[in-house]
């Protein structure tokens, strides 16, 4: 079945540790890829997105993600996390197979950063 998979359900890190959250998708054709973040008590907001071009995308707050087409992956990274990065992170996809007007989300990864 077509899906977006986030393998890590809950990640706990200490401040200054490096972060990598996995995202794999199973849609064919052209895809657009997104990471959204939901801080405690707040609404979902866009962290970064990939449409085309350089597969290494930089977003807000020092986050980046790399699109690896051969692996159907779009992993999120940050070299040094802060306590304020504690949030839930969602990978999302749209494109040829899903329709451009529809985002399909993964189940999310909860990140807890310990001061």
């Amino acid at each position: 079945a077509q899906s977006v998979s986030q393998h890590n359900h809950h990640v706990i890190l200490s401040e200054a540790a490096s972060l990598e959250l996995g995202c794999n998708y199973s849609y064919g054709g052209t895809v657009n890829l997104f990471w959204y973040v939901q801080y405690p008590g707040q609404h979902l907001q866009l962290l970064l997105k990939y449409f085309s071009g350089d597969p290494l995308v930089k977003g807000i707050k020092g986050f980046e993600a790399e699109f690896i087409k051969s692996k159907f992956s779009f992993n999120l990274r940050k070299p040094s996390v802060q306590w304020s990065d504690t949030a839930e992170y969602f990978c999302a996809v749209n494109g040829e197979e899903t329709g451009a007007n529809n985002l399909f989300f993964g189940t999310g990864t909860r990140l807890t950063v310990i001061p």
């Binding site: 609404h43 449409f51 999302a92 007007n101 985002l103 989300f105």
Partner: protein
């Protein structure tokens, strides 16, 4: 306000009752989306409006769910004969247009609890 506004923020109802959830998108955004987020899951697409018309309602789970956007701005999601399984956070999002813009602006959601 500047963001997407959803009311009510919380709704508790009894099984079998009728519920309406309202979304006021960002001014000037022509595209409006409804998503549903169950506990431990990512947002699940329900319906997408471009202007006043429902351009894609393929995510509505059954005919108890209906949404309108009569003037191309505010939208109402209507759920008839609610069931316990309808309990979830209902998210509304808007974007400048539906044409693959990539960024959806989400509201804080309406949490529906069906007893």
């Amino acid at each position: 306000g500047a963001g997407v506004s959803q009311t009510p923020s919380n709704k508790v109802t009894e099984k079998g009752k009728y519920v309406e959830l309202r979304c006021d998108p960002i001014s000037g955004h022509t595209a409006l989306y409804w998503y549903r987020q169950s506990l431990g899951q990512g947002p699940e697409f329900l319906i997408y409006f471009q202007g006043t018309g429902a351009a894609d309602d393929s995510g509505l789970p059954n005919d108890r769910f209906f949404a309108v956007r009569p003037e191309g701005s505010v939208s109402t999601l209507k759920i008839q004969r609610t069931e316990r399984g309808d309990s979830a956070v209902y998210l509304c999002a808007s974007s400048v247009s539906g044409e693959n813009t990539g960024e959806l602006f989400f509201g804080e959601g309406s949490r529906l609890t069906v007893l």
